[in-house]
Symmetry: C2
Subunit: 163 residues, 2 copies
């Protein structure tokens, strides 16, 4: 099963190495990972997506909480959370295909952030399924390059995950 874990960490060198090491020693492959600032400059927030056995993962989460510089570990339940990912996609585009690509971009409420004579760069946010859907549609034009951020996830409503 796919799991999403939010980890609040202190901004110290080495914390990412310890966290990544804990997953790789258990042969968990991290599918997606995002690490970014929180509203407190002392802490960063990681969102880790892993596929794996529920019981083993429960142990990993317990061990994570005990690591140095790890402040808080929370598993997010998809039904109670909003999940968003950012994808930046470079597609082959010339004067003949450009307007068709722009239609797809509009339908997905995506944005065009760069245009050249032979290419376009598209920015799109959404859950994994939405991003997979636009990628599938853009494939016919030729995807030259794609970068995705890994998702961030947040509990709906007023409840918070904080240091």
């Amino acid at each position: 099963m796919r799991h999403t874990i939010a980890v609040i960490v202190e901004n110290k060198s080495g914390v990412l190495t310890r966290i990544a090491g804990l997953f790789s020693r258990r042969s968990f492959n991290i599918d997606g990972l995002s690490v970014g600032a929180t509203d407190n400059p002392e802490y960063s927030r990681m969102t880790i997506t892993v596929e794996g056995d529920d019981e083993v993962l429960e142990q990993v989460i317990k061990q994570l909480s005990k690591l140095i510089n790890v402040i808080r570990v929370t598993e997010l339940v998809p039904a109670e959370s909003v999940e968003r990912e950012l994808a930046v996609i470079k597609v082959t585009a010339d004067k003949d295909s450009r307007s068709e690509i722009m239609q797809i971009v509009n339908i997905f409420r995506a944005k065009i952030i760069d245009v050249s004579a032979r290419s376009m760069i598209i920015e799109v946010t959404g859950d994994e399924e939405k991003i997979n859907a636009i990628v599938q549609l853009l494939r016919q034009f030729g995807i030259k390059e794609m970068a995705r951020t890994g998702k961030v996830s947040m509990i709906r409503g007023a409840r918070v995950i904080k240091a």
Copy 2:
């Protein structure tokens, strides 16, 4: 100086640990990191943001290229690239403040992705400065929680970074 490095890696357990270890042994603190799928399921793309001495970083980049499962390492030049980050921000919002928050959301072409009686969740993409600017404006209402993905960066035009 701030540096942005794109790394194409094979989807193997342990590759993140080796990469993070290389930075922490040199006492480089990774400010931002995103790891996500590319258009080839065998490879992931990491975008690493680090602050540090140019010469030391040049050595780190050389060593990165030699790691197992690392396919390609490219430093991105800001002037030639588009940089985007995703932030998800939960703000305190009630019936009195909601419309003012919605004005700010519209100005920044952000999106409201959740509303409750006492809170709102806002999704916004942009470069670091744009996100810092909306965060600054939302602070007056009370930021309950924030998660940012770390940026992705792509060379403008038709030139590509690929496995």
